[in-house]
């Protein structure tokens, strides 16, 4: 038995619901730390960054599910919805920290969205993720039909690119880390597109 088969075998019976719990815990923990002085002198930015970063990591994890199956034979398809939804919730938490704790003023929110390109780009990413989150349950999938659902969910590609771009745009100066994230995103997407062209009939 190969390693991939063994992993697949072990995961066959594992339910997906623990993912929701396990991935919610760090968010609660960061909030607790922030509220009790554990995130340093400026907890608002720290929390905003922690949620944004984790959201981006989860989005990337979601993108890896298909290539992992194609190239390594590891099948995590069953967990993809939970990963994707958790990514969405962290983007939402990130947005809420920005709204409620960071910016604080209603009139500033719209001004920031239209005036600041990195916010505009982040917001576009969020807007693309919204319909995906809403349609991530069995009932809607059945109603939509697999084809339409898959088509809609291709929106995750531009959404992740926007998320990565947002990160590159918001740092001061040329910093390496956001560029690495963006490069990773683009590489994964390039690999996926190649794989599709090779293995799927148009």
């Amino acid at each position: 038995m190969t390693l991939a088969q063994e992993i697949n075998g072990r995961l066959r019976k594992a339910p997906a619901w623990p993912i929701y719990i396990v991935f919610t815990l760090p968010g609660l923990w960061w909030f607790y730390l922030g509220a009790t002085g554990g995130l340093g002198a400026e907890p608002i930015k720290a929390l905003e960054h922690a949620y944004g970063k984790f959201a981006l990591q989860l989005l990337i994890a979601g993108l890896l599910v298909t290539p992992l199956r194609a190239y390594a034979g590891v099948n995590l398809l069953k967990f993809r919805r939970a990963i994707g939804l958790m990514a969405f919730f962290y983007v939402l938490a990130h947005l809420l920290v920005w709204l409620v704790l960071d910016v604080q003023a209603i009139d500033r929110i719209w001004a920031d969205i239209v005036k600041r390109p990195y916010i505009t780009v982040g917001m576009m990413g969020f807007a693309l993720l919204l319909p995906l989150a809403v349609t991530s349950n069995d009932r809607v999938i059945r109603r939509m039909g697999g084809m339409a659902w898959r088509k809609l969910h291709r929106l995750v590609y531009p959404a992740v690119i926007l998320g990565g771009l947002h990160y590159v745009m918001l740092v001061k100066g040329w910093q390496l880390e956001p560029l690495i994230y963006l490069a990773a995103i683009l590489t994964i997407l390039a690999v996926r597109i190649r794989w599709k062209q090779r293995f799927l009939p148009a």
Partner: protein, 309 residues
């Protein structure tokens, strides 16, 4: 009050020199051992005259001031400087003063602080990233130093440079900025009595992450103008290149005066968040010239501050 009251305070007089050096070495060790947090190091005390600057302002805690820093030579994270700056050797330290001055040369830090009036001044500090602190600096007026070395009439600007020592600065390996870090002031800004050369905070010498052993403090400008760990001061007749302006001229102007009406292209400068208020702290309105308009607005009379941001 530049030069009004001379004392014999000398950097190395503060603590006997041998003990002082010992402490420094000890400190490096403590810094390396301290895990997660600032281990309230025993930095040498500086005798400073109390002043009225900042009376009524509540300073940020020592912990806030020394743990939340931008000093990209040690990394871009706010906590990187407090973790990494312990490696920087600040003894011995000399500053090359050159250009349009009567007495150019390499001045040891002991010479520079010899005979100057050390004052404690509590200033607001406003970062370009829209956060702020209140810091009880210890230092002397830059004008004192410039007068001692003799500024020639043709000098129009002062340029400053930060130490660049890659073996002690893990952040300079990445090209976030073009090193060494550079800053500059117009000569009248440099001579303004508010402009401070700081050597300490809270009555003690500066911790490395705050720009030891000598840094500039220009309280009406965004924090990045207040260049740290200075090794060179050049008097010149041309506006000197400055690091953030070189990196992105559209976002960071030469003047960079605190101005709530001129936004940074990527965020508003109308309000700021005072560090130390916790997760639910409210934003405060940013003040024109960071509240120092009475002292400095005259320097910019007739200038379009939207263009000269």
């Amino acid at each position: 009050m530049a030069g009004r009251w001379k004392n014999d305070l000398n950097w190395s007089d503060v603590t006997p020199r041998a003990e002082f050096l010992n402490r420094r070495q000890l400190l490096a060790g403590v810094g390396a051992l301290a895990v997660g947090g600032i281990a309230g190091p025993a930095l040498a005390k500086i005798d400073a005259v109390k002043t009225n600057y900042g009376r009524g302002l509540e300073p940020n805690s020592y912990e806030d001031i020394t743990s939340y820093c931008n000093f990209y030579e040690f990394g871009t994270g706010k906590d990187d400087p407090s973790r990494n700056a312990g490696r920087m050797k600040t003894m011995p330290w000399s500053v090359r003063i050159d250009g349009l001055v009567d007495k150019p040369g390499n001045y040891g830090i002991e010479d520079i602080v010899h005979g100057v009036t050390m004052e404690e001044r509590i200033y607001r500090f406003r970062c370009v990233e829209a956060w702020s602190m209140v810091v009880p600096w210890v230092g002397f007026e830059l004008a004192d130093l410039l007068n001692r070395v003799g500024v020639q009439p043709s000098a129009k600007y002062v340029a400053f440079e930060t130490l660049l020592r890659p073996s002690e600065m893990p952040g300079v390996g990445s090209r976030v900025l073009e090193w060494p870090y550079r800053e500059g002031l117009r000569i009248d800004e440099a001579m303004n009595p508010l402009t401070l050369m700081a050597t300490g905070i809270y009555g003690e010498e500066l911790p490395n992450q705050n720009g030891a052993p000598l840094r500039l403090v220009v309280p009406w400008k965004y924090g990045f103008k207040s260049i740290k760990s200075i090794v060179r001061i050049t008097l010149t007749d041309k506006q000197p290149p400055t690091s953030w302006n070189m990196a992105n001229a559209r976002e960071y102007g030469f003047y960079s005066n605190v101005n709530p009406e001129v936004d940074h292209p990527r965020w508003s400068q109308a309000t700021e968040r005072r560090i130390g208020g916790g997760l639910f702290s409210a934003r405060e309105d940013t003040l024109m010239f960071n509240g120092y308009g009475d002292e400095v607005a005259g320097l910019y009379a007739g200038m379009d501050l939207r263009k000269n941001f």
